[in-house]
């Protein structure tokens, strides 16, 4: 296992390098002079020159790239201009919100998505299958922004079940924490449930038509054991692949959901950074997210070997 993780980490190194260079290029791809954009519309020429110097924009491109990579190697992800604090510390303050949202969303998505996907596969070509797949299609097709606003109107304004917006930290009140996150996490789950249900159905359909399932049934095993144990275990690799994608989309989708529900998470930080043209912040967050996605893929690879002993990387 250790060998596998080492190999995967070595394979991830070039990806991380490319992500770092792409994040760096964000500054170079800005239209016009980034220093003017960053210094703001009321800046004097002296202030613009100071920004240019502080960001090293007055140095040659390759030198800037070298300094950027060197600083990254030392764990420096830059500083936010609008917050006047380091990107790592700004993210650290907001990460619990985003992780709570993404975690709760996955906690809703995984059982629901797998269950309805499996049901659709078991009852394939029936009205149950059609219903589940139609709901899944609606889930992946409806824009999250729009459905979130409708959910606020229905569940907060009309029914009064949940607060319309805001976040309560877990340490302050676990019940209010859960109440503040149920609606946004459910909305974030809608897309994911649709996606996971379709993936699960497809994987289960493959498995349920295999000979060993027929054998299991002919041995007289119950349907629950046949489908739930033998069938699902063999479909798990595809589901794990889907889970890796789901974690990534949960982090990405939180940008929109945090905005609608006014949750003070990393997604909202990025939106504010973009609106304020705080490029060092956007650059830093983009880079950290890039690293996180590499780590998620690594975790998925490790999970493959645990879920299916036939999977070997050597």
């Amino acid at each position: 296992m250790l060998r596998l993780i080492t190999i995967k980490l070595l394979q991830a190194a070039p990806v991380i390098l490319v992500v770092s260079i792409l994040a760096f290029l964000l500054m170079s791809l800005l239209p016009g002079d980034p220093a003017v954009v960053i210094a703001g519309d009321q800046a004097s020429p002296e202030a613009i020159a100071a920004v240019r110097h502080s960001l090293g924009l007055d140095r040659p491109f390759l030198e800037r790239l070298g300094i950027w990579l060197l600083r990254l190697a030392q764990g420096e992800f830059g500083s936010s201009l609008m917050l006047n604090q380091s990107v790592l510390s700004a993210m650290g303050e907001r990460l619990p919100v985003t992780l709570s949202l993404a975690g709760l969303s996955l906690a809703i998505t995984l059982p629901v998505g797998i269950l309805i996907g499996s049901i659709a596969a078991y009852y394939r070509q029936t009205w149950v299958d059609s219903l589940v797949m139609t709901v899944a299609l609606v889930g992946v097709s409806i824009p999250g922004f729009w459905i979130a606003i409708l959910a606020v109107i229905l569940f907060s304004v009309v029914l009064g079940w949940f607060p319309s917006s805001g976040y309560v930290p877990f340490a302050q009140d676990p019940v209010l924490w859960l109440r503040s996150l149920v609606l946004p996490a459910s909305m974030l789950s809608l897309f994911q449930i649709g996606f996971l249900a379709r993936m699960t159905r497809s994987a289960m359909l493959d498995v349920l038509s295999q000979d060993f399932i027929r054998t299991a049934r002919s041995k007289g095993l119950s349907e629950w054991v046949t489908v739930g144990k033998h069938g699902f275990r063999n479909a798990l690799v595809l589901v794990i692949t889907a889970m890796g994608i789901l974690v990534s989309t949960a982090l990405g989708g939180s940008v929109v959901i945090e905005q609608v529900f006014a949750l003070p998470g990393v997604g909202r930080l990025v939106v504010q950074g973009i609106m304020a043209r705080d490029y060092p912040l956007v650059q830093g967050v983009m880079l950290i997210y890039g690293f996180a996605f590499v780590a998620i893929n690594l975790a998925v690879d490790v999970l493959y070997t645990l879920a299916d002993p036939r999977v070997r990387y050597d």
């Binding site: 239209p31 016009g32 003017v36 954009v37 703001g40 519309d41 009321q42 800046a43 609008m82 917050l83 006047n84 303050e93 907001r94 606003i149 606020v152 109107i153 907060s156 304004v157 009064g160 607060p163 319309s164 917006s165 805001g166 976040y167 905005q259 609608v260 529900f261 006014a262 003070p264 998470g265 909202r268 930080l269 939106v271 504010q272 304020a276 043209r277």
Partner: protein, 521 residues
């Protein structure tokens, strides 16, 4: 020596179109104000800083004006009135201003405010504020005793008090210990009626009643940003909710009692509820088409005047929506420099494409391309310029429309850079504060250079001791700026706020959020 004190502060007996003084949300027979409770206010986003000396955005100022106070403030007629100063005295040559400070005023830290704090605050302002150029004529600050503060100027300035009352980049007084703090790095300690309690970035901010607050007992009641401020609320909680629909939902569920910036098309959703209402905050700013007088075609005054002749204001405001009212002047109607019907305004809302075509012909226009620059951030700006482009095409102008981001757009206008002939923007407090505040904007945005008549009118303005003389100079300035179409005025604009009717005693003064005197029923 000229004594300027309390209500007649810098007013010079001018008859103004006074605002009605009746507060909103309270009937004459209403019960006594109730003390206690927390007002929850939904605003679009949170402040980046609470350092008053570097703050110009509304989301920052709507907190800052409840925490800090300055020597003087805008009253509800937009004239100057004392706040932390009890009295101000200007020397006859308008080069020395002496402020007698109110006694017993405490900072939130418990220390008494003295002249040393005022001196340190203005010295810090000169060091860190983007608006510091307004103090460029200061020769020295003096604090001869704890309750006397003196400003000595290098040259006469009859409008120094008007400069000091600005609500953006406000001249707020901080404890002297903050003097050497860098921009955006102060401890948030002021003399205002509320003190900062909690601030969670991107989430919420709480201010609580400052029980040691010393109200200005010389006033009968609140008066704009000044006067006698009474705090009934225990606390106010600002919640940062960017989505308008979510802000309205929070109002409907009772989670908040006041919500800023309600889109016009959604006001019905607030008003359909019997316990909620919408308040029009007007005027907030004035919208303008900016004409670049240093680039290509629009360096020619005849071309600029042709463009102004083609503009139909009604078509523009119909397309952009929102709260708009026609006003040909660069001052709001309830301000000392508003000129009303005293002079003709032939430059405004001409909607005359034939005249435009005639002027273009006289200018020798040969179908060269006229570049309009707008941005993708503000929909009203983009819509405005799309309508303007069509109006100019109808007058025979060859128009090219470019869309960039707002920061680039604004930087081009402020610094006179980029390749563009027309753009648009909104100016805010300049319409309240008058010609001295307008000066840098007037010269910078359309890149005015070498206009001797304009330079002369401004010289007259700063030398005129009498308000009527200054109003006459302001007329000449506007005739130059608008008559020669360096800028084309569109309209005065406002915004909507939603509130629960149990929130009582809101002021109808259309300024930045004032939480004193409000109470929850």
């Amino acid at each position: 020596m000229t004594m300027i004190g309390r209500r007649d502060f810098c007013r010079n007996g001018l008859a103004l179109g006074a605002l009605a003084a009746l507060p909103l949300g309270i009937s004459p027979a209403s019960a006594e104000p109730k003390r206690g409770g927390t007002l929850v206010y939904a605003t679009v986003s949170g402040p980046g800083t609470l350092d008053p000396h570097v703050s110009s955005s509304a989301v920052e100022l709507e907190v800052i004006h409840n925490l800090f106070e300055g020597l003087v403030a805008l009253d509800n007629q937009n004239a100057t009135r004392p706040m932390l100063a009890a009295k101000a005295t200007a020397s006859d040559d308008a080069r020395t201003y002496t402020f007698e400070l109110r006694r017993g005023v405490k900072f939130h830290s418990g220390e008494e405010m003295t002249a040393a704090d005022v001196k340190a605050s203005l010295e810090r302002y000169q060091r860190v504020s983007p608006n510091a150029k307004n103090l460029a004529d200061v020769e020295a600050y003096e604090a001869p005793d704890p309750y006397t503060f003196i400003i000595r100027l290098k040259q006469p300035n009859v409008v120094l008090l008007d400069v000091l009352k600005t609500p953006i980049f406000p001249f707020m007084i901080l404890p002297a210990a903050q003097k050497d703090k860098a921009a955006r790095e102060i401890d948030v300690v002021g003399t205002g009626p509320f003190a900062l309690s909690e601030w969670v970035k991107d989430s919420h901010l709480v201010i609580k009643r400052f029980d040691g607050y010393a109200p200005d007992t010389s006033a009968a009641g609140r008066d704009g940003y000044g006067g006698r401020k009474t705090v009934y609320l225990d606390a106010a909680r600002y919640r940062f909710i960017p989505e308008a629909t979510t802000r309205i939902a929070a109002l409907q569920t009772g989670e908040v009692q006041l919500a800023s910036t309600i889109p016009t098309e959604l006001r019905g959703r607030v008003e359909e509820r019997g316990d909620l209402a919408v308040r029009q905050v007007f005027p907030v700013g004035g919208t303008y088409i900016i004409v670049n007088s240093q680039y290509g075609l629009t360096a020619n005054v005849l071309i600029r005047q042709a463009l102004a002749a083609a503009i139909d204001i009604g078509e523009i405001t119909d397309a952009t929506g929102g709260i708009n009212k026609a006003n040909p002047w660069m001052s709001f109607p309830n301000t000392p420099y508003y000129l009303g019907e005293t002079a003709p305004t032939p430059w405004y809302d001409q909607k005359d494409p034939a005249k435009a075509a005639e002027l273009l012909k006289r200018a020798g226009y040969k179908n060269e391309k006229l570049i309009i620059e707008t941005n993708s951030n503000y929909q009203w700006m983009r819509t405005t310029m799309l309508v303007v482009a069509e109006q100019l095409k109808a007058a025979g102008v060859n128009v090219d429309l470019k869309v960039v981001d707002w920061t680039t757009n604004a930087a081009h206008m402020q610094q006179g850079t980029g390749e563009w002939n027309l753009s648009t923007t909104l100016f805010g407090p300049d319409h309240i504060l008058g010609p001295q505040q307008w000066r840098p904007m007037i010269y910078a945005f359309p890149s005015i250079k070498g206009n001797d008549a304009l330079d002369g009118a401004y010289k007259e303005f700063f030398a005129a001791p009498d308000l009527d003389q200054r109003r006459a100079a302001w007329l000449k300035i506007q005739q130059q700026v608008l008559g020669n179409a360096y800028m084309i005025k569109i309209a005065d604009s406002g915004r909507l706020a939603g509130y629960a009717k149990r929130l009582k005693n809101q002021s109808d003064y259309p300024g930045i959020l004032q939480l004193w005197d409000l109470y929850l029923d």
